[in-house]
């Protein structure tokens, strides 16, 4: 009986033309990021359409929920926003997205080609940033501030560095990939020497940064915009981001249209809106990431956001191929293998 009523209601809703675009993302995009502004703008552009954000968990939690829903044949999102570039092979392997149509996304013209990390045309970038180390200038003596990756191995820094787990956090994975890109085959050696200097390898970024703010250790793995954040939000330059030998690992975040959506038109309009100048200029102070639209201006205070001279990245396809092997090797190092 109840089923029948629900069907009647659904039918009525369809007849009345109530349309909805469901977008999965990670929680900070909603709590912190420009989600609300995007919703207001989108609903103004398409009267009668509701944009619904579903954001309960981090990027990897939302992606795995999406994959599971697709595999189980359950109703799911129309768009997924918040795919880290290194996760691209996994998303492609599980056939999560359908290719976008560049014709229907005019704002794509303002996005530099080097940021379009998906050669297969499924996923578009919407912001980018750099994972690097941040130190507490009140706790760390000037002469101990690391200048290169090797400096993190100094015996004076024993138990003074906090990083996150590459298995459970995206900055953690970025750092592992950074060391692999930098040292090549020699990365396990580097990590073996680094381990005694790590006070903790936490599950996620929030725990790590909270510990750092509590003064448990003077160096933490975080983002290159942290100094700008600290300056713009708190007027303080106490916490300073650094590059190591001019390097920091580049993260590009992407969005794509989910394979079985029925709202192709709206989904394309959504991607186009996120790439618009208006929304892109919100990225620096909501996402604390750099915009991908080349015309977007950076706000005052962003001169403290570091742009590394030598951004480091690895081909996502290579990562997809080797990730399991690397993580296995990393795990063995942890237990002294």
């Amino acid at each position: 009986m109840r089923t029948l009523w629900v069907l009647v209601l659904v039918a009525l809703a369809v007849v009345a033309g109530a349309r909805e675009l469901v977008v999965y993302t990670y929680d900070s995009f909603v709590s912190w990021g420009p989600a609300l502004a995007i919703k207001e703008r989108f609903e103004a552009l398409f009267p009668g359409v509701t944009l619904r954000w579903v954001a309960v968990g981090d990027s990897s939690e939302m992606l795995s929920r999406l994959i599971a829903e697709l595999q189980l044949g359950l109703p799911t999102a129309d768009v997924f926003l918040g795919l880290a570039d290194v996760e691209l092979p996994r998303a492609l392997a599980h056939n999560v997205f359908q290719p976008y149509d560049p014709q229907r996304i005019p704002n794509l013209a303002d996005v530099p080609a080097e940021l379009i990390f998906d050669p297969t045309g499924h996923v578009l970038p919407y912001d980018h940033g750099y994972v690097t180390f941040v130190y507490d200038s009140e706790l760390l003596p000037e002469e101990l501030v690391p200048q290169g990756l090797e400096d993190l191995l100094r015996p004076e820094l024993r138990g003074k560095i906090i990083v996150t787990d590459p298995r459970t956090s995206s900055p953690g994975l970025s750092f592992l990939l950074w060391t692999i890109a930098h040292f090549g085959e020699g990365w396990p050696d580097y990590w073996r020497k680094l381990l005694p200097n790590l006070l903790a390898i936490t599950k996620g970024w929030s725990e790590a940064y909270d510990m750092f703010l509590a003064g448990e250790a003077p160096i933490v793995l975080s983002y290159s915009t942290d100094t700008a954040y600290s300056y713009i939000e708190h007027g303080s330059l106490r916490y300073r981001a650094i590059t190591l030998g001019g390097e920091a690992f580049r993260q590009v975040e992407g969005m794509g249209i989910v394979r079985n959506t029925k709202e192709l038109e709206l989904a394309h309009a959504f991607l186009n809106l996120v790439l618009s100048l208006e929304i892109q200029e919100l990225m620096p102070t909501t996402q604390w990431m750099f915009p991908v639209n080349a015309r977007a201006k950076l706000p005052p205070g962003y001169e403290y956001a570091l742009i590394p001279e030598k951004p480091v990245s690895l081909d996502p396809m290579l990562v997809g191929e080797k990730l399991e092997e690397w993580l296995n090797q990393w795990q063995k190092l942890l237990i002294g293998g």
């Binding site: 954000w53 787990d165 459970t168 390898i201 237990i335 293998g337």
Partner: protein
């Protein structure tokens, strides 16, 4: 006798049916992925998973830390249960309610409390350095196995305290009095009479605590570091990072077999000591403190207060002291979370979050009690220890696997037609009724059958006999079970995240949103609010429950 059995089975059939469709079938669906390979049944995946030396390392470490955590929780929780049973003192109900506070806190908040209190630069080290005039922090507790054990004890000692308290208060005081009359020394009387009668409750609690610690994930990683990973990290890795569900299911299956196997052993072990009880009046309590010997108690209480109130107090203190715009916040973070323009941070108003969380907790608790009683009743008739152990599955399964099972169950008919809120209420009831069973069953088992039979002989129906005879005798247990269920529901995350369609934001989800937005002070304020609401909800629940049960008894 046969008719009674039939009626009881029917009575218990409904909850078991709901459990089967909403939980066990979807769970089996997910786990059996681990036994399939190209449409063939095979153990190949399970064997491959177990052949990995890292997975074996995870299993041995997980078992070790769970064992240590259970023992330390018992050592801390048992005296507290004794204390709560034996003595009365002003504010007792509040203290009791407070012991459930750790239960609702997201692991990330507990980790924060531990950094702030036990950390190298934490309050405790700070105080010790001042008192002892030391240069270096004297306590290096964190980032080791002991930090994990301590944090697990922080969560789980209250389980022992509550279980022991519930069982002890339903003992017949005549037993101890008889010992006193016979001149048996009190310690000997405790060892030979009281303790054996408490063993079922202790085993029951130990089974739960071991399982909870075995599945713990964020605490070992956050307080111990990646060096101290549990099996759950393996499941996470397969399911989330490699997105290889069959492999995750294979590992989840092994993990479930281990936890359920242990639960089974405990259930058997605990059952051996249960003995019928005929209780005529409640156990008398003594005022505290009233004697010089209570000084020792005070010292012990001070020690546990440091462990429990230290981290919680640190989070509360943090909500007032964490700088906001460069200055100590005072009430600033509370104003921040309640101000309308910051609501977009969590997608709802804090009051809305509180209302949703309380509504879900309240209704799911009532439902969990009903399910738990039905299932306990069925187990009294069926006497199947294997089934009893199996019913603990919602607590004994990896949260990653649980999330997938819930996704499968609640996104399909008939449950897909439930609103988001109703789905969450049902899911929480299904997740937390095992607590009800674990608390109620040992005590129900211990009730002498004579009373019910007498009532039946006098013409009472089975239901009436239950309501007038058994329910009042189970009152204490039901109150405790309800309190646990309330607290667990207020703090639950996996189901809340998996079933969310973007409408409900429960309090823990709101905390995570503030954390992910770097509003650490707001997260601490929200966590303090969650503690306050939990304590208040538990106090009101117990007060209402006691009143209505007293009323029913009269």
């Amino acid at each position: 006798m046969i008719r009674r059995r039939g009626a009881s089975l029917l009575w218990a059939g409904l909850p078991l049916f709901v459990l089967a469709t909403a939980f066990f079938l979807p769970l089996a669906n997910v786990l059996l992925l681990g036994l399939r390979l190209e449409d063939q049944w095979t153990l190949a995946r399970v064997r491959a998973v177990l052949a990995d030396p890292y997975v074996r390392h995870l299993f041995s470490f997980t078992a070790l830390q769970a064992l240590l955590s259970t023992l330390v929780s018992l050592a801390l929780g048992f005296p507290l249960g004794w204390f709560l049973t034996r003595y009365r003192f002003p504010g007792k109900r509040l203290v009791q309610a407070f012991t459930l506070a750790p239960f609702v806190l997201p692991p990330i908040t507990v980790a924060l409390g531990f950094f702030l209190f036990f950390g190298h630069t934490g309050y405790l080290n700070h105080a010790l350095q001042k008192i002892l005039r030391l240069q270096e922090p004297p306590l290096k507790l964190l980032y080791s196995l002991w930090a994990i054990v301590l944090a697990h004890a922080f969560y789980n000692a209250p389980v022992f305290a509550r279980f022991v308290h519930a069982a002890w208060s339903s003992l017949d005081p005549a037993l101890e009095e008889a010992c006193a009359v016979l001149g048996v020394r009190r310690f000997r009387a405790f060892l030979t009479v009281t303790l054996p009668l408490l063993l079922p409750a202790i085993f029951s609690a130990a089974a739960l605590v071991f399982v909870l610690c075995f599945l713990s994930f964020a605490i070992p990683l956050s307080l111990g570091g990646a060096r101290y990973a549990t099996v759950e990290v393996g499941v996470y890795l397969y399911a989330r990072v490699y997105v290889d569900l069959p492999r995750a299911a294979a590992l989840g299956l092994v993990q479930l077999l281990v936890t359920l196997g242990l639960a089974y052993l405990y259930v058997r072990g605990g059952g051996r000591w249960s003995a019928p009880q005929e209780r005529l009046r409640p156990l008398p309590t003594l005022p505290f403190p009233s004697r010089a010997a209570h000084g020792l108690w005070l010292l012990w209480l001070l020690g546990s207060a440091v462990l429990f109130f230290g981290p919680i107090g640190s989070v509360v203190a943090d909500s007032f002291t964490r700088p906001l715009a460069g200055r100590p916040a005072g009430l600033g973070w509370y104003r921040f979370i309640f101000s309308p323009e910051h609501n977009p941070f969590i997608g709802t108003s804090p009051l809305g979050s509180i209302r949703v969380s309380l509504e879900v907790a309240g209704f799911s608790t009532l439902l969990a009690l009903a399910l738990g009683l039905g299932v306990s009743g069925a187990l009294r008739v069926l006497r199947s220890r294997a089934l009893e152990a199996l019913l603990m599955a919602p607590l004994a399964v990896s949260s990653v696997v649980l999330g997938l099972a819930l996704l499968l169950a609640f996104h399909r008919p008939p449950f897909v037609y439930l609103s988001e809120k109703h789905a969450l209420i049902l899911a929480h009831a299904l997740l937390f009724y095992p607590f009800v069973v674990r608390i109620v069953r040992p005590i129900w088992e211990g009730l002498a059958p004579g009373w019910v039979e007498a009532a039946r002989v006098l013409g009472a129906s089975r239901l009436r006999a239950f309501l007038t005879v058994e329910a009042p005798l189970l009152a204490q247990a039901l109150l405790v079970a309800g309190a646990f269920s309330l607290a667990l529901s207020l703090g639950e995350m996996t189901a809340a995240a998996m079933l969310s369609r973007g409408e409900l934001v429960t309090l823990p989800l709101a905390i995570y949103r503030f954390l992910s937005a770097r509003r650490f002070g707001a997260a601490s304020a929200m966590a303090s609010l969650l503690i306050l609401i939990t304590v208040a909800a538990v106090v009101v629940w117990e007060w209402l429950g006691e009143r209505s049960l007293r009323h029913g008894q009269a």
